[in-house]
């Protein structure tokens, strides 16, 4: 309303025409005032609605809450007759903001709610008969939809993060339980020194070992389940149990019978999983000064005699590759001072920054050059050399080793 629109005093003083003209003018002005008041109230309501939308709390991450807020505030902000959010719709359509005349004087906006490449749904808004949507309304609706998409995206990420945390927690728990299979104390046998080392590449691994007295000797086993991580660890747990069970069933000095029993217990299970296990079983016989080895696809297996290291290779494929079978064995002299080393490919397959492998030859040379040091020291030296070779490279596979050394001459009790 401007000064030019105010009624002049001269016009209202005319007795014949002034009062009706003045009344009409007053009516017009009153109508304008009402419109301005309505507009002011609407603007205030819109301001409050925008302010409410800008408020953010953890509760607003709930998709249902976010959608309801947007639908409610859109109705206020746009002065709409109806608003609705619909999941689905044409996700392939370009970013449209449609405005069309519904034939009854009303207009409607259909705006997609999308964030980057994720499509959530559409917001549909129908205008009141008094107010047709304008370009500014279209832009405002797009802004509302962008904000809703942002909240829905955040909600998705929030729930995914929670799920990942739960999965990680369950994975860690399962890993601890699987690795517990290796927590049995090692047997003590007079005249023998026994040491083991195990370091998975991840939280849990597929390497395992077992040792149990039998008669006057000692059963040993060391194995490696193909693959890595929790799946291999779960099979490792079963394999360790099967190994100890076989040791209990078998009489002394039958390493190949023990391995055949392990194969029998595990072959069906392995066939279902598509995995295999390389494993070597040894029986250390102090009375016969012999060590019997039965080897299904495993390396490295090294015997040192008089300071000379010799590799003992597999008699057949790993268990799980073929159907359960009867395994063979080989016997070696095992005199005072001699040593048996069993390892897994965590040492031979370790790479350095240049891509070179630590390799079986290097392991054999190292074991052969160590002399009569204690069994635990053998493992310390091996792991130190492998780690120094690797440098900053990640541990490539589970590293496990077992050493049994016969006490040197004159120290047998």
């Amino acid at each position: 309303m401007t000064a030019e629109t105010l009624p002049s005093a001269e016009a209202s003083s005319d007795p014949s025409t002034g009062s009706s003209a003045g009344s009409a003018e007053i009516g017009r002005l009153r109508h304008q005032l009402e419109e301005l008041t309505d507009a002011h109230v609407l603007a205030n309501e819109q301001f409050l609605a925008l302010h409410r939308l800008s408020e953010f709390s953890s509760a607003s991450l709930d998709p249902e809450v976010a959608v309801k807020r947007t639908v409610d505030e859109a109705r206020t902000l746009l002065g709409a007759a109806q608003t609705a959010y619909r999941v689905g719709g044409d996700a392939t359509s370009p970013n449209p903001t449609l405005s069309y005349d519904r034939g009854d004087g009303q207009t409607a906006l259909v705006v997609p709610v999308r964030s980057d490449d994720q499509y959530f749904g559409v917001l549909e808004v129908v205008s009141s008969p008094r107010h047709r949507f304008s370009t500014a309304d279209m832009k405002l609706t797009e802004a509302l939809c962008n904000q809703l998409a942002m909240v829905l995206k955040l909600s998705t990420l929030h729930h995914e993060a929670i799920e990942r945390t739960i999965i990680e927690r369950d994975y860690n728990t399962a890993s601890i339980l699987a690795q517990a299979a290796l927590n049995r104390p090692l047997p003590v046998v007079e005249g023998l020194e026994l040491a083991t080392f195990n370091r998975p590449a991840r939280a849990a691994g597929g390497d395992f070992y077992a040792a149990a007295r039998c008669g006057d000797g000692l059963y040993l086993a060391l194995g490696d389940v193909s693959g890595k991580g929790l799946p291999a660890a779960l099979i490792m747990s079963s394999a360790t149990s099967a190994t100890y069970s076989a040791f209990e069933r078998c009489s002394a000095g039958t390493a190949n019978v023990a391995l055949s029993e392990i194969d029998r217990q595990l072959s069906s299970y392995l066939a279902e999983t598509g995995l295999f296990i390389t494993i070597v079983v040894a029986y250390v016989d102090l009375k016969q000064n012999q060590i019997q080895l039965s080897n299904a696809g495993h390396s490295p297996v090294i015997i040192t005699q008089d300071g000379k290291a010799t590799n003992s290779y597999a008699d057949g494929p790993p268990i799980g590759v073929l159907e359960a079978r009867t395994h063979g064995s080989r016997s070696w002299d095992f005199n005072p001072g001699d040593m048996l080393f069993l390892g897994t490919d965590g040492c031979t397959d370790q790479t350095n920054a240049g891509g070179a492998l630590f390799g079986e030859d290097r392991v054999t040379r190292l074991i052969g050059n160590l002399g009569n040091i204690p069994a635990t020291e053998v493992l310390t030296r091996l792991t130190r050399d492998v780690d120094e070779f690797a440098g900053d490279e990640d541990q490539i596979d589970d590293l496990t080793a077992m050493v049994v050394r016969r006490d040197p001459e004159g120290q047998d009790k």
């Binding site: 490696d224 389940v225 193909s226 693959g227 890595k228 066939a271 598509g274 995995l275 295999f276 390389t278 299904a296 696809g297 495993h298 390396s299 290779y313 597999a314 008699d315 057949g316 494929p317 790993p318 799980g320 590759v321 073929l322 490919d345 397959d349 492998l357 079986e360 596979d397």
Partner: protein, 106 residues
Amino acid sequence: MEIAQNQNDPSMVALHGRFDANECDRLDAFVQRMREKGQADLKLDLSAVSFVDSSALASLVWLSKWATANNQRFEVHNPSDSVSVILEITAIDRALTIRNTSPVPQ
């Protein structure tokens, strides 16, 4: 690792590079697509494979078992020296059909 199917012999697939646990799913998917197109026989050329780990060996064993169970053919062709050593040490060579042949032109 690169996987390439021979155009002159669609049953021949050559692997190039390091074949380890990170590549097994890719090879499985590649072989599955071949089977869906009607190509069930598989000859895997390992002449250019620099390294195999236990997961890769398990893949080879699994392919061999599947072929046997489905009356199809699976062969390992021209394994590189490093692969041959691993196959011998583990004695898995006794469970696979291994052939050393002349290379098939692409």
